[in-house]
Amino acid sequence: MPEPIIQMHNVSLIYPNGTRGLNAIDMTINRGEFVFLVGHTGSGKSSLMKLIYREHDPTSGAVYVEGIEISDMKRSQIPFLRRRIGVIFQDFRLLGHKTVYENVAYALQVTGVSRYVMPRKVNKALTLVNLQDKADRLPNQLSGGEQQRVAIARALINDPIILLADEPTGNLDPDSSWDIMQILSKVNVSGTTVVVATHNQQLVDVMQKRVIVMNRGEMVQDVEHGRYATSALGPMPTL
């Protein structure tokens, strides 16, 4: 029973300096799907994701998350949207002066959760990513894979409906990358919709998930059990 959870309807994004980020994108992602966004740098993968958690507003068109047009939402509603969406990045984006525990707990604190419940939930999330014994380390004392796992725990702590991963394995070695992808697929199995933008050809080929290919701001290909088909990507953007 496909239930659309992200829908983009004729979405275009033009950045303030004139560059065209996205060009008339029509896309539907259903609940529980695992989607890869592949494409060259500048093809619009990150822009697409930014629209979902409303980092940017589309210049035209509408973006729907769980049936609500988020491009029309008031600015004050954005935090509530972002609590339902977990995002992880290539550069991890952890709060550098907070410990691992505090980083994950911060995402919970913003929702006003009682401090008696917090330890339990935070420890549960940390156990999920296997970092429960490093809970009081600072991010600069962790390896890249561990930092990304902290980011995942933080993204998952509020039970999000969507998990967005913007090049999650970009800074990681192959083994850590594989760990991360396993965690993401585990998360997807339990019902969260996962969207991963990546360059990593090997991972895309192995996971056999839906692949959306982007090129220069347009959706070029949308394959159900796709592979990272370099032919569909089109030529490299001129540097």
């Binding site: 309807h9 769980e66 004050s76 609590r83 709060l95 998952l156 339990s190």
Partner: protein, 501 residues
């Protein structure tokens, strides 16, 4: 074959729970979802545990896929809440290994190639078994869950209906503030009350008060200062130095002003009577003086009063105990309406016989008037400039410290923190820093002034210095208020700049 058998076995027990779940979700789709997750969680656990026990005989890889599937079906048909963590951990408990997918790969040796194949196997198993598992439970679920909103492109100009789903958290907190007995009874309720899902219970019953947030923010402020002391020290020392300068100048100018005022008071005509003047005739003399043209007021200062004043002025520096007779004469203080009549009036008064001396200091009077004005004006200008520079420099320092943390503010916004949740710790930090800096400077000024004033009084006994107790409390009040205000406003403006961006 092995893959089919374990799948069939969980199906009957699955449907039983699914029936219960559909009953729940039919009542109130929005609100009973947290409750549906409650019974779903323990039930799913038992079901997957039974599935696990049944499937353990078969090959581990494919069974892990099968239990994965069963868990996925259960979880997706249950609530959107508590999926990621609780269901995933159920899957882990069912597989009794870190992760079912990892379990398959772990048994194969945890090499990527092995896990490739097992993941593919799982995918294939999912493809194979899903059509078989789907029909029985899925049919029931489809009736229960409300159909997803059908989205047609809206005609331009219509605003999309604002459904409460996205703000469900806050409104559901308010609605469910009372105990669940208020909600209409459904089979899920009893289970939820009996074994409240630990994820959902606090969201229903606990709404944090302002005090909780305040404590939360204060704790964060203290932690921030402890972990990054240099930035705080920069702000505090800037505030302290500037407040010190401002305070010093305020004291100096206040004293100068009072001196000028005091000297201006001397512009009254002092009429000193002869020693033979009988004090009883003071009243008559006063009336006589008043009748002189341009005289506005006459004050009789008997010698005793004059003596007392002198003693007070000297402040105990010079002992007056051994003077037996009061050497001071009776006097009148005559005020004139306009300083230019001083001369004239003084002449007239001098003609009175019992008047011994008339004192008014004419040139000095005009000079003093001009000086007084100048002092006042200069004082205000200097203080104004100092005040402005204090505000600018302190808020600039605070702006720098906030600028250094702009990435953090970005991350906080990313995680879904409301604007006020981000702002308040910064504001409190600014207030804290401004307060500490201003207090330190007020303390220094307090001690310094109390030390300096006695020296002044000893060396130049007749200069009217403002006594410490008269001015120091106002200094404390003014400086601390200014410190708090500058800190708060500086932080507020700086943070807002990074919130909008």
């Amino acid at each position: 074959m092995a893959s089919i058998a374990p799948n069939n076995q969980p199906a009957p027990s699955d449907s039983a729970e699914k029936r219960q779940l559909t009953a729940d979700s039919q009542d109130q789709p929005a609100e009973s979802r947290p409750q549906a997750a409650g019974p779903a969680a323990p039930n799913a656990e038992t079901a997957s545990a039974s599935a696990a026990s049944q499937s353990q005989s078969a090959a581990p890889g494919q069974d892990a896929g099968a239990t994965l599937n069963a868990a996925k079906d259960k979880a997706s048909s249950a609530a959107p809440e508590s999926r990621a963590i609780s269901a995933a951990s159920e899957a882990t408990s069912a597989g009794s290994q870190p992760a079912p997918a990892e379990a398959a790969s772990g048994q194969a040796g945890a090499a990527p190639q092995h896990s490739d194949t097992s993941l593919e196997q799982n995918g294939k198993a999912a493809n194979k078994t899903e059509p078989k598992a789907a029909p029985a439970p899925a049919a029931k679920i489809n009736d229960a869950v409300p159909p997803p909103p059908v989205l047609k492109p809206l005609p331009p100009g219509t605003a999309a209906p604002r459904k409460p789903a996205l703000v469900q958290k806050s409104s559901s907190k308010k609605k469910n503030k009372k105990f669940p007995s208020i909600a209409p009874p459904s089979p899920g309720d009893a289970a939820a009350q009996a074994a409240p899902a630990d994820d959902e219970a606090p969201r229903k019953r606990y709404t944090p008060s302002g005090g909780y947030y305040l404590e939360c923010f204060l704790r964060e402020v203290v932690t921030n200062i402890r972990r990054n002391p240099m930035m705080s020290i920069a702000s505090i020392s800037t505030a302290m130095v500037l407040a010190l300068i401002l305070g010093m100048f305020t004291l100096v100018i206040a004293n100068l002003d009072q001196l000028a005022q005091e000297l201006a008071r001397e512009m009254q005509i002092k009429v000193y009577m002869a020693n033979s003047f009988p004090s009883e005739e003071a009243q008559e003399c006063q009336e006589h003086l008043l009748r002189i043209e341009h005289v506005t007021g006459v004050v009789f200062v008997p010698k005793s009063e004059a003596f007392a004043k002198l003693r007070e002025r000297l402040g105990g520096r010079i002992s007056l105990e051994d003077i037996e007779q009061n050497p001071l004469p009776d006097a009148f203080q005559v005020s004139v309406d306009d300083p230019k009549y001083l001369d004239d009036t003084a002449q007239r008064i001098h003609e009175i016989t019992t008047v011994e001396k008339v004192d008014y200091g004419r040139d000095e009077a005009s000079k003093l008037l001009a000086l007084n004005k100048t002092v006042r004006l200069a004082g205000f200008v200097i203080l104004g400039l100092l005040f402005a520079s204090t505000i600018l420099i302190v808020s600039n320092t605070i702006r720098l410290t906030v600028f250094a943390r702009r990435k953090e503010i970005d991350i906080m916004q990313l995680v879904g923190a409301a604007d006020w949740f981000i702002r308040w710790p910064f504001i409190l930090e600014g207030v804290f820093q401004g307060l500490i800096g201003a207090s330190l400077s007020a303390l220094a000024l307090d001690l310094g002034y109390r030390l300096v004033v006695p020296h002044f009084q000893r060396s130049i006994a007749f200069i009217p210095v403002i006594l410490p107790n008269a001015i120091i409390p106002y200094l404390w009040l003014g400086l601390t208020l200014m410190g708090c205000a500058v800190g708060a406003i500086g932080s507020l403006i700086s943070v807002n700049r990074y919130l909008k961006a």
